[in-house]
Amino acid sequence: MPIKTWELDPNFKNEILNEPGGEHLTACYQCSTCTLGCPITEIVPSYNPRKIIQMSLLGMRNEVLSNPDLWICAICQTCTARCPQDVVVGDVLAAIRRIAEKEEEAGNLKIESPRPLFEKAFLHTVEKYGRLYDIGLALEYYPKREGGKVSGIKAMMNDYKDFGMRMAFKGKMGPLGGHGLLKGVLPSKIKKTDVMKKIFEKVEGK
């Protein structure tokens, strides 16, 4: 891929450096230890955190932010643990993902991966109940991912019908559970949900 120098954004690295977790980006000396040990690269050969960092340092802002591979990191910390330069690679990628999400919110970018939708749906249940509520998460995530209620519920049933039956049969969720009739089916709500609301409002600046 030829690099068009006139399209580079020399400020992109500073953007990452200013994002929490992105502070050590410029320490990278491109040794590729991150990528060689990555369990995702083993399965998806195109996945290359070293290259994402190099492109970021060069200022290839658009290419980096629209790279679908940003969203398949499993946050396993192998790259972070092995990096000889303490780049904290996992956190750098998270910082880049957050910049991409901000760009999407501003209407400048379309993220194809459903991961931001998933993370938001997860955190919405934490904000509302104080704990993760799996079913609430799924009921928000699937319709948004599929772009409609009917197709969303269909996709959810496809993924979770068998799983739900298994959990009910084992008494881990639902009416056969030894821990209350609707354990796992209804949300487990904490008392201080007002504190959760404050945390999300103040941290996310909502």
Partner: protein, 288 residues
């Protein structure tokens, strides 16, 4: 261990998908004479889904602050709860300004950094310790085990309590109870795929397959683990992995507390061994 009382953070999966871990953890600590005091009104740690460090610090400052009021160290059976608690503890201990920032969000987030968060595997092996465990073991659990550690026990280094590439605490515990560790070092700390399950199930299933089939090929009777999210991916979702990839694995997956509980003479029902998705009877036949 001098302190016989710990604050307990069960973590969100404890109430449903990881009920087996929850029940066996409580049974084991009771048998060992360590009281677990559940953190009152505890909240979610943010798991892997809260990517903003500030959000992680705020969510975990609240749990830490509640435990600190009782002056108790916190123990959790969940690796990601542990990671989030530990990195919050490190960050807040080192940064007075950050502590003030947390307290400003809400007074209940005021944490002074006087307690230590720990993972159950760390408490069992390093605080309670091998000698104490040895004195309470009444049965031999003669199973071949693939000890699976996953991500946050040895990584990242700032919060780890075991080796990042070749952790040993679970191996030692398995030997202590009369089990045998199969050769598994390459897979011990590979990610199970859990965080990608809802957004890239294809990659997640392939990651889980590698762990499970490596264990099977090494001749293991079961995989032992110490994280409810690994349990979700490797046990509860195992039939989905099999279906998606058109393979048969049938590898029992148990929590390390379930194996230890058997060695302590606790009956299998009190360790919820009937609640694991893949049948665990093969293990029960090897308890002598």
């Amino acid at each position: 261990m001098s302190e016989k009382k710990l604050a307990f953070l069960p973590g969100c999966p404890s109430e449903a998908t990881a009920l087996d871990q929850e029940i066996s953890t409580k049974a084991v600590f009771k048998a060992l004479g360590v009281e677990l005091v559940e953190i009152e009104d505890w909240n979610c740690c943010g798991a892997a889904e809260a990517e903003d460090p500030k959000l992680v610090y705020a969510l975990n400052a609240r749990n830490l602050a509640i435990a600190e009021k009782d002056g108790l160290d916190v123990v959790t059976p969940c690796s990601i709860c542990y990671y989030n608690l530990a990195r919050t503890n490190n960050a807040l201990k080192a940064d007075e300004k950050l502590r003030a920032e947390m307290a400003e969000i809400d007074p209940s987030l005021s944490y002074n950094g006087t307690i230590t968060p720990k993972h159950i595997l760390d408490v069992l092996m390093n605080d309670i310790g091998v000698d104490e465990l040895k004195s309470k073991i009444v049965k031999k659990v003669e199973v071949k085990v693939a000890p699976y550690y996953g991500c946050y026990i040895g990584r990242p280094l700032e919060t780890a309590f075991d080796d990042p590439d070749d952790p040993v605490l679970m191996d030692q515990l398995i030997e202590l109870i009369g089990g045998e560790n199969v050769p598994f070092s390459y897979m011990k700390t590979k990610c199970c795929g859990g965080p990608l399950m809802m957004t890239r199930a294809d990659i997640a299933f392939e990651m889980a397959r590698k762990v499970l089939e490596t264990a099977k090929n090494a001749g293991a009777d079961c995989v032992a683990l110490a994280c409810p999210l690994c349990g979700m991916m490797l046990d509860a979702k195992q039939p989905d992995v099999e279906k998606a990839l058109g393979i048969k694995i049938g590898m029992p997956v148990v929590y390390i507390t379930q194996l230890l509980g058997l060695a302590l003479g606790i009956d299998p029902k009190s360790l919820a061994l009937e609640k694991n998705t893949i049948d665990t009877k093969v293990i029960l036949g090897k308890v002598v």
